[in-house]
Assembly symmetry: C2
Homo-oligomer: 261 residues x 2
């Protein structure tokens, strides 16, 4: 099942994608819903980010080649994380499928994509185990963890390097039935493939992260966990179209709009 979110008469509504149509629901996938008799063309509907999270978690460095590439760029030895220590992002940075990534005029040219899978939590849970961990997941969507590397390195925190408005496109929908092992992630710039990686080739897997997090932190419906990206990332320029595809979910597409260019 594919969950989308969109505006109807100024109100945010959830719907279910069926073929080229969206079926409106009353309620939402977190607190319960009922299908309505109303449907609309998917192609004509402006999608919002499929969920506004309660807490926006991000795994950070979670693929070995990405950690090694980043260290090489800094002329340092790679320092692989030793435990699944999660980080945080800010809700203001979230934007939807087809929305522009708006880059402030004072950003440097080191403005890069990071394609990643996003876990959407569907239940309030604590102390998850190997047996229970998968049941709390509503589904998966796609994130582009847009990063301005100069700010990321130079600031004391990643506040504007990764949390500037529109730097966290998420969507297009939440896929509830995903064959994780078959899911490949590919990033395209202007239709040209930049990188492809096996989505599950993480240093710490989804289950490992959620089990560890939930020993100390209650997870809630609408929490999202961005799982990190792999490999070398590259700069984007004004006018680029960035697409992140995860097989079995879909394609998240966003144009880059640089202020003042």
């Amino acid at each position: 099942m594919r969950w989308v979110r969109y505006g109807v008469g100024g109100k945010e509504t959830f719907g279910i994608v069926e073929g080229d149509q969206i079926v409106d629901v009353q309620g939402d996938p977190f607190d319960g819903y009922q299908r309505t008799a109303t449907s609309r063309a998917l192609a004509n509907t402006k999608l919002l980010a499929p969920v506004m999270p309660r807490t926006f978690y991000a795994a950070g460095l979670n693929y070995a080649d990405h950690v090694i590439a980043a260290a090489n760029k800094r002329g340092e030895l790679p320092n692989l994380p030793e435990a699944a220590d999660v980080g945080y992002r800010a809700v203001n940075s979230i934007t939807g499928h087809d929305d522009p990534i708006i880059v402030p005029a004072d950003a440097t040219e080191q403005l890069q994509y990071e394609g990643e899978i996003v876990v959407v939590i569907g239940e309030e849970v604590k102390n998850l185990t190997e047996e229970t961990v998968w049941d709390c997941i509503l589904g998966y969507t796609i994130g582009n963890d847009v990063s301005e590397r100069t700010w990321q390195r130079g600031d004391r925190t990643m506040w504007r390097g990764k949390n500037t408005d529109t730097f966290a496109p998420m969507g297009p929908w939440i896929e509830t039935d995903l064959d994780l092992e078959a899911a490949m992630t590919t990033v395209y710039i202007n239709g040209k493939e930049k990188i492809t990686f096996k989505t599950t080739s993480m240093i710490f897997g989804i289950a490992e992260f959620l089990i560890r997090m939930s020993q100390y932190c209650t997870l809630y419906p609408r929490d999202v966990v961005w799982m990190g990206t792999e490999g070398v990332t590259d700069n984007m320029v004004n006018g680029d179209i960035c697409e992140v595809e995860i097989k079995g979910i879909g394609v998240l597409r966003n144009p880059v709009v640089w202020e003042g260019r």
Copy 2:
């Protein structure tokens, strides 16, 4: 005006404190409200954290003596921050006035309070200036940024060191009329004063933080910004009562309950 939040028949309600009474309102201080004819005794009402934030910002190291004391403990030279770079916390960690700080059994004895003032944003704003910055603030409340220092130092992020469930008591209410310059912060353990500091003696003040943040990040109603703490902090043990008082706001009180002790 003092805004409180509490449960009525399983539903969260906002109210206004008047003397020893709370006046229920319809709506809330963010989207608009109307007073009702219903009131209740403040002393008999279990208060919730006065707001559940959209994004939970934290200034981090923002008082000179605290930065110096922390560096001394680590045997390092202090490294004062050069810019107002904000960080993030997780909503799961928030709890209310009089709620227990529940410490996991595997925490070390380095479990410490951090009393701080909390700015509550009331409007959606961007590109704030010296002239406009104060108008977006609904009011101020009190936070206790409970920190397990072993986890804070040892983990790659501050996820469990500062974001374990109940590690962010906030309350008791939002005070909309505060003389900031007169506001002193005092932390008491079991009634004994541990530290008193001038709340505005920050490295980067409230206006400076909000103006800088809003150049890149839209601030939204219900966002909160915890402004950091001053001085040397000390360990708390099972059964301690921690109180954070800010003159002009009130007292945030929480008992420490250590699991398995």
